[in-house]
């Protein structure tokens, strides 16, 4: 794991992702992570430094793969545009994507790697026999050879004094 990377998410939003994975089980769920990055352009893929991002909203999407939805998910470019629009409306960015791995570990597959870009966080929740298990988050390496694992930390909801 690269200790330099961290993504913060509230217990409530993490639970919503798990619930989405349970809802669509045995098929894959998917959606966008809306949030902020402390310095969106400081991330140096060769030498990641301490940087963190916060998930502040979700944009659940429909898995467009109806031919193989148990082990594939797909989000169209139109969906991506919708997610970006939703993020902008809340003053946020699309900082990544989540999906579930039904009955498989929460680790990115080769297929995931072939369809990824650096910078985005790819959050995966494993759902075994309909029960959510591990949740992990990953960022593609600059040379596309693999991923850095990103630490998931709890984000405490700030309350106004």
């Amino acid at each position: 794991m690269s200790e330099a990377l961290e993504i913060r998410i509230s217990a409530e939003l993490a639970e919503k992702i798990r619930a989405h994975g349970v809802e669509t089980y045995p098929y894959e769920c998917c959606g966008a992570l809306l949030g902020t990055d402390d310095d969106r352009l400081a991330f140096d893929p060769e030498a990641p430094r301490k940087t963190f991002r916060e998930v502040l909203g979700l944009f659940p999407l429909v898995n467009r793969r109806d031919d193989s939805p148990r082990n594939r998910f797909a989000v169209t470019s139109e969906d991506v545009r919708e997610a970006e629009k939703a993020a902008r409306a809340q003053g946020l960015d699309v900082i990544g994507w989540y999906h579930s791995h039904p009955d498989h570990p929460a680790r990115p597959s080769d297929f995931d790697r072939d369809h990824a870009w650096p910078w985005y966080s790819y959050l995966i929740v494993s759902v075994h026999t309909g029960i959510p298990k591990d949740m992990t988050s990953w960022r593609l390496k600059d040379d596309r050879s693999g991923y850095f694992e990103e630490k998931i930390s709890p984000l405490r909801v700030r309350t106004a004094n």
């Binding site: 894959e28 797909a74 297929f111 369809h115």
Partner: protein
């Protein structure tokens, strides 16, 4: 003839942090060629090793997907905007 290419957030780190760049180009392919020549590190995230646009990378000329036009041979005109939008895909195995 100047064509504006919008650079998606995840790829800006390879483009000197810019959100767009302008190129003199007669086709979409020429504009993308200008982009990947100027910012070479960007290329592998848009193209496969054999030089084809990656399947999940979608290119729009103004609001039209170039797949429904003449793909990379789609002619451009002064003031056009090219957007690069990924489709997101993945799977467990």
């Amino acid at each position: 003839m100047s064509v504006k290419v919008m650079i998606p957030t995840p790829l800006r780190v390879y483009a000197g942090k810019r959100d767009s760049a302008e190129f003199s180009a007669a086709t979409v392919g020429e504009a993308l060629g200008g982009l990947t020549s100027q910012f070479a590190d960007l290329k592998k995230h848009l193209y496969t090793e054999d030089g084809k646009l990656r399947a999940f990378v979608n290119v729009y000329l103004n609001d039209e997907d170039i797949r429904y036009l003449k793909q990379e041979n789609t002619p451009t005109k002064d003031g056009d905007t090219i957007s690069i939008i990924p489709s997101i895909a993945g799977g467990s195995f």
